[in-house]
Symmetry: D2
Subunit: 319 residues, 4 copies
């Protein structure tokens, strides 16, 4: 192996730059060149690439997002698009590819692997909805961003005896919502994995209001409802005034936490070592504090198990 | 003078607790008692108060919001309501009142003063729309909260070559929007004090996109339009994909900055000293780094001048 | 079981309050009372305790340190002291005790268990030197505090082409030093578990300086040398000017991160459930994302294994 | 005027990059080129410079330190050195120079002005010891860094009933110490401008300890004593255990606050406009929220007045 490529795809997250840096440094130590593909699979099909030497990845460890940029590409989902991608990789003299992103991005990696091109995936998705890794890249930073915002909102909620419905990311996964509910002492986490009963919630909140509690926080995963709808449904029934905040893209960015910088460094190093040693078609993951390689096939077919212990705990520690 | 009261009213902001602490410590040094009225004018009319000794204000300096809470009261706006408030104050043995809040709250303070009750006001409003003070309490903390969020959003914007419309507070004032635009290097600040031409903005952004710039940030004061409407108007004309984030109540809270803790300490001390020395019907303010007392009458009639230098600078440093 | 007690002992850390809250809420749900012993074993021997109801633990989740306070006690290390502690617990009607702290504190817990008193331990120590738990409470917050400080120092180091020796906590453990070195992109982590060769380091740093690199960061665990001594040894040999910063107690405090709040919530809940179900003489721990109970005997005899993978990675990603 | 140069000198601070960016953008709008001198006067004498176009100053607004770097030069203090600097400037086709730094740096600027070279200065010094500006660049960020650290240390102090002596920067100025004491609720600020009586302090602290207060914080300006010496002097006399933290270079760096980014933007723009309009030998400053130009001669001869109101307030709000 002489030359690797790395690309970031799908939604960006904090830690991607740290993982790129780690992959580059690991490869260079083994005298293997690295190029960075810009704008994900879209850029790959165009051969949009830059050389990544030690200097190119200096000063990026602490920066959010991905300096290689990301983009969507419908064309890459076609067999022709994938074939074209492989041709471009060969034209550029690339022997192996590291793909960093969420499940869509990893499905693309699997397609390239099936077409015979060596690929290793790195799970990066703030929703933490990728199976076969305890944590995906970017989750811990997103959680701490949410924490900071909710701690702020709680101050103002308490000052006005208000309830807040705070919407966080998570289309299919309540991970961010339930963990941040525990971490901020929120009263409820509404998640797509579990039904909830607004009338029961209203009754409990009314009780809380009657007791003289000065605030109530409901963390809502975006996949479990619309914040404003929920606010409208409960606003006349709970005593508290209700306000809504949708945290949005603020959750994605910012300097990565220690956990994400370390995870990124481990993922980048392991993915590079696997690829160089001849392994293809796997995703690196974190399992019991160790690096684990799982066939991309299993990752794509698999489903992340909701953390029942955590979901139950959110209930015990809440209201 | 034997006993002062203090209340917080209107929208809460960071630094209110620090100002309460400072007022209490200043009064106690002069052997004057202090009580805290809970829930603003609403609580005042009910005589809802707690004693504030040194211990009661210990450990609150760094906390956002107001532990005395705030609330709205329509009834207090009537002559009967105001008369009742004064009676309650007298019942509680209170000789003077400190009112902390925005222009509505200060208008209430003026009403009490006109009815003969000694009152001093402290300007607190994250919009920075109160005249006769360079800065109101809470503005600096709100600005730094906005900064943190926009720095995060810029990471993700750059990763996807996106434009973001970010809505900040400011119904009548573009202060937060224009200052945070300068501080974050945003391309535009859309403010209520100035007309803007979306078609011109689109043209400039298209140029920026064509040059290969990887993001564009528009900071919008809530009084200058709706973020989603603006996003819809420009989304097909600028090259960049467009996303929207409404920062909402997150802006209000959080541990106050040094500036707000210091300003709060100065406001609380000065208001207390003025009241004790027999002054009434004024608001304390910050003017050229000094404490200034201005008749509440002038404050209520006055209008905050937009900072033209700053608005112009936002343009020079932008696109 | 009718009444539990909880105490914090040894060096404080962020997350202790969150763990107390979780233990109290868990016990109250099962109709068991909780009292908080103040000032660790010292307070225990005096019966210095407060009642902990839901309200007592409200508003503490996000606060650093321990509101129950901690202290050292030589007397408790004697058989007489331990006997007295048990008598006090019985006087207060306590049927079980949760002890939170580092290895010294857990050794005290084991002593009480051997004397027949039901005890469960929670590992809390920013050094992460306690075996049978992947992470102790407070480590993640300490790491992120270090990260913030080192990111700041790197700015100034780069501005002056300086090397910095930054001393972090860790008398017997290089965990904080090595993880924070990876997370901040430091050139070296000097740890007690591994010998280092200053003349080799000097040679490498001289090379780095010659290449035109604008800074060099050495993270030193306190158990691996004195920062100023190391600075003196290298200052004339590396090209860079050298400066020293000892981060000190700043590392311990501050609002806990999401990770520490979640870990604290899990530890507090699990320790309470174990104690109530009749288990004694164990420490709860985090193992492969699950809660694990290990006999305190094994914990005290055991030794935390250094994370070789991590130590090696620090070398690869460094200079 | 066709080409400006800008350099940063002396101790770095947060906001320098933002000021460089603002100066460059302002000049480019007026079709004037800008070069950046690297490593202050040392680099100037060697002609070590880079071209600064819009792109060169993109993405630096939020970075601490100075990307142009800073350095000390004894040689520049000689007439020969200064002559050489002017020759280099002329060789590089430079018509005017912006110097950013503390009083030593501004004295150098004055020397060049006296030799006939057009120069404008920008005050940058976290000590806030430069006269004729209410605030120097970097002060607000340093204060907020101190705040964060002291808030953390207070958590651990309270957990162990300890007193802390925390040393902050300020060789000749107690500004950082006194403002941060007010902002953190510290009991004492020891500053070079005022004598202090350790025996009186001990007596008061002993009283505080006797009252059962759980911590005491003393903020010490480095020019007012050595932290460890003070700790040794009081440790047996106050009841509290005593610990020491020296915050060090951590104070200098980090992402600048809103205040510093705005101040930097104003300073950079104003300095550039003045130089282009033919003014030389002045320093820009902040006075009553406006930009003020003061002859460098007056700045160098002048002395910053200690803020008596603030120093007194620290006393009132303390113990």
């Amino acid at each position: 192996m002489k030359r690797l490529a790395i690309l970031t795809s799908g939604g960006d997250c904090s830690g991607m730059n740290a993982a790129i840096r780690s992959a580059v440094r690991t490869a260079l130590r083994m005298n293997i060149e690295v190029i960075g593909i810009r704008k994900g699979y879209l850029g790959l099909m165009k051969g949009d690439a830059i050389n990544l030497d030690n200097k190119a990845v200096s000063g990026i460890l602490h920066r959010g997002g991905t300096f290689l940029q990301s983009a969507r590409s419908m064309e890459f989902k076609t067999p022709e698009g994938q074939q074209q991608a492989i041709e471009k990789l060969r034209e550029m003299g690339v022997d192996g590819l590291i793909v960093m992103g969420g499940d869509g991005s990893l499905a693309g990696a699997l397609a390239l692997h099936r077409l015979g091109f060596p690929v290793v995936g790195i799970p990066a998705s703030i929703d933490n909805d990728i199976p076969y890794t305890d944590m995906a890249l970017g989750v811990d930073t997103a959680l701490n961003n949410i924490l900071y915002a909710v701690d702020c909102i709680k101050d103002t909620a308490s000052s006005h005896a208000r309830a807040f419905v705070i919407e966080v990311m998570g289309r299919n996964s309540g991970y961010l919502a339930s963990i941040s509910a525990i971490a901020t002492g929120a009263e409820y986490a509404l998640v797509p994995e579990r039904d909830y009963d607004l009338s029961e919630i209203c009754q409990q909140l009314r009780g809380r209001f009657a007791e003289g509690r000065d605030n109530a926080i409901i963390i809502l995963a975006e996949g479990a409802g619309h914040a404003q709808d929920i606010a409208n449904s409960i606003k006349d029934a709970i005593g508290f005034e209700v306000r809504v905040t949708v945290l949005g893209h603020y959750q994605r960015g910012g300097a990565p936490t220690v956990f994400d910088r370390l995870l990124a460094s481990r993922f980048g190093k392991k993915a590079t070592e696997l690829l160089i040693s001849g392994v293809s078609g796997v995703m690196v993951g974190l399992s019991c504090n160790s690096m684990l390689a799982t066939p991309l096939e299993d990752v794509i077919k698999g489903e992340k198990q909701p953390q029942d212990e955590v979901l139950r705990m959110a209930e015990v520690l809440g209201i």
